[in-house]
């Protein structure tokens, strides 16, 4: 019924990409899962079946526990921070100011810079070293007379990863701001005016008219930030290198593979990361493509 002559050419044109994605995304994911279930724990590749051995080893690995703890602290701080700042910045700009374009560009510019370069300067800013190699915020605090605020930043035992989240917040707030800004401006002005005429104070207008509109934005933002956070690699490496104290699962995986040559365990981490992301992303993807179809 459906005329192949019509859509055939299209399929043909896209087929190289389909093949590439099929192989290099889905095929390799499958390969990765396979490796995670194998006995390839050393430089020489071996392809024996080991079941969930690598996962079990991971589970009892204190470095793994550490890295999970780190990523959780990081994620929590990062998401809350980026959402708050993004919302705040959007709120400040949403009613329009002169030079808005300039301000927006400033808030978004960190995204044009690589995490590596940002890592360099933020490492300087968060430098916990005392004495001659001191720099950054600790020095600034000292100079401003609030020296007691100086701390170990990312080398802090408990909250190091929260400090690590700062550059990430700096980088992504602008993006979240852009999302919220579009959200704010999607609220028809008439709705706000009607509320004001009904006697609502400006705060009430925000609370009852505007913020409900922003819920879908927050949801999108949460999912995007969550997935970035799980994958974060460049930033952590740039600031903390391979130190245990700043390791995240993504970094640990790199170390396992390159330094320890424990491929199966590395692959196990990758698989777990993938599962974590899928839980977030798959419902989101399905939902958005479906609602686009409905529209």
């Amino acid at each position: 019924m459906r005329n192949v002559r019509r859509w055939g050419p299209g399929l043909l044109l896209v087929s190289p990409s389909i093949v590439l994605i099929a192989v290099f995304v889905y095929g390799l994911i499958g390969w990765n899962v396979k490796v995670s279930l194998s006995d390839w724990r050393q430089a020489e590749q071996t392809t024996g079946w080991a079941g969930l051995a690598a996962y079990r080893d991971l589970n009892s690995d204190p470095a793994w526990d550490e890295s999970v703890h780190h990523i959780l602290v990081f994620t929590g701080t990062f998401i809350v921070g980026a959402l708050l700042f993004g919302l705040l910045l959007a709120f400040l700009l949403e009613k329009g100011v002169r030079g808005e374009g300039f301000f927006r560009s400033v808030y978004i510019f960190p995204l044009a810079v690589s995490f590596i370069a940002a890592g360099v300067v933020w490492r300087w800013l968060m430098n916990p070293a005392p004495g001659d190699r001191a720099s950054g915020l600790n020095v600034a605090f000292d100079k401003l007379g609030v020296g007691f605020l100086a701390n170990d930043w990312y080398l802090d035992q408990e909250w190091g990863m929260a400090a690590m989240a700062m550059p990430a917040i700096w980088a992504l707030s602008g993006y979240i701001m852009a999302l919220y800004l579009a959200g704010f401006r999607g609220v028809p002005e008439e709705l706000r005016e009607a509320a004001r005429m009904d006697g609502a104070s400006e705060w009430r207008v925000y609370r009852h008219v505007v913020f409900p509109h922003l819920r879908p934005v927050t949801l999108s933002a949460l999912i995007i930030l969550g997935h970035i956070s799980i994958k974060v690699f460049d930033l952590v490496v740039a600031i903390g290198g391979k130190q245990l104290i700043t390791q995240t699962p993504a970094v640990y995986m790199w170390i396992l593979i390159y330094d320890a040559h424990d491929y199966a365990m590395g692959a196990a981490i990758a698989t777990l990361l993938l599962i974590g992301i899928s839980v977030l992303i798959i419902p989101y993807l399905v939902y958005t493509v479906r609602s686009e179809q409905r529209a």
Partner: protein
């Protein structure tokens, strides 16, 4: 010889909705047939099925004697003029018009020549180097036509080509399109929701409603003998007055009891419309505003085909004076009428409460009638229409639609 024959064409969407239901229609060679109806009636879908832009769910389509159901749109040798013109924004007028020719591998020489000829035909010679966004609506419309004409196709399909133009331009373009079509002698299917356009342009018109063909015929036939209440209400502006009336025996013949007025029905009319079986029953009576005249001073006094209402309000249209008045008869409120009046954008009922029907008569523009006047209205009984209140169909014994 390009006839377009639709046989039981149906368009069914995956969710079950049928945009076009069992449409059978024959478009004769060289004729301009207008598909008209309210939005959503399926006219555009039908047109697109002819074009090949929509899959035919069932039924057969023949163009020039050839069954084309499975033929791709590019191979059907027909050209289409789109509602929003669909001009290529980055190409000049000349390139837009000549695009299809260029694709068929004609020499640059030939393309340029043919583009020039087509442009002259449409008065576009001066605009050949402009881009669409530099053109007015009317000019764009003509470029769209040029693009279709240059291909010298077997048939033209036009999808509401004038609906994006302002009223005056529309009137002017109507004439131009009609003249062009006659001159080129190409079979044309023209879609519009504007019944005035349909009436003025078509050799024949086909009225659609909710995917079903209501009536097809010459405009005057459809106007004078609407097959059902929908058509009666849809075709003609201002729309036909409609209300319930009882058919009674009177003086050896029949009369229609409309409120407190009794209108004698001439015997020929009663015979032609087969009213005998409606004796002592209720019908829906229709009479067009222009068939309700202000009674002249010299008309036979005592003629019973008269209404004597009080004028509720008047509308001065310049060419006529519309006089609105109440009739103490049950208003006709059927689905078909609602669908039709919706298209005229009419209000439901005037605000002041009145349980009966509202009628409208078209008087001479300078009759000086005002609100509150009592007037005498002669009903031209030869121009009465009668409809079955249940089926909404005209009581007239129908010939089957061609």
């Amino acid at each position: 010889m390009t006839e377009i024959v639709l046989e039981h064409l149906t368009k069914r969407y995956p969710n079950g909705f049928e945009a076009v239901k069992d449409l059978s229609l024959e478009i004769k060679d060289d004729e301009l047939l207008v598909l008209v109806g309210p939005s959503g009636c399926g006219k555009t879908t039908a047109l697109r099925m002819i074009a090949g832009l929509e899959e035919i769910s069932s039924g057969d389509l023949y163009i020039g004697g050839r069954r084309v159901n499975d033929v791709l749109e590019r191979d059907r040798d027909i050209a289409m003029v789109f509602q929003n013109y669909a001009l290529y924004p980055h190409m000049t007028v000349a390139q837009n018009i000549g695009f299809s020719l260029k694709l068929s591998g004609r020499s640059r020489q030939e393309v340029r020549q043919r583009v020039k000829e087509t442009a002259e035909l449409l008065g576009l010679e001066e605009l050949l180097d402009r881009r669409p966004k530099q053109l007015s609506g009317g000019q764009r419309q003509r470029v769209a036509m040029g693009r279709a004409i240059i291909r010298q196709p077997q048939a033209f399909l036009m999808d509401e080509p004038l609906s994006n133009l302002d009223a005056q331009l529309r009137v002017q373009m109507r004439g131009e399109i009609e003249a062009l079509q006659k001159r080129l002698g190409v079979t044309t299917v023209y879609v519009t929701h504007d019944q005035v356009e349909a009436m003025t342009m078509g050799d024949r018109i086909a009225v659609l409603r909710e995917g079903v063909l209501q009536q097809v015929g010459h405009p005057t036939d459809v106007y004078d003998r609407p097959a059902n209440l929908f058509i009666a209400g849809f075709i003609g502006s201002p729309p036909m007055n409609l209300a319930h009336a009882a058919i009674e025996s009177r003086n050896g013949g029949l009369a229609a009891r409309l409120g407190d007025a009794t209108i004698p029905i001439p015997d020929e009319v009663a015979a032609e419309q087969g009213l005998a079986e409606w004796r002592d029953r209720t019908v829906i009576l229709g009479i067009r505003p222009e068939d309700l005249h202000q009674s002249g001073a010299d008309e036979k006094a005592g003629s019973d085909a008269r209404l004597t209402p009080t004028v509720d309000r008047v509308e001065a249209l310049g060419a006529s004076l519309l006089v609105h008045f109440a009739v103490d008869a049950q208003p006709a409120r059927t689905a078909g009428i609602a669908a039709a009046t919706g298209e005229h954008g009419l209000e439901e009922v005037p605000l002041i409460g009145h349980e009966g029907a509202w009628f409208c008569a078209a008087f001479e523009p300078r009759s000086g009638v005002r609100t509150g006047n009592q007037v005498e209205i002669t009903v031209d009984a030869r121009r009465l229409h009668f409809f079955d209140p249940e089926t909404e169909a005209s009581v007239r014994p129908q010939k089957s639609a061609p």
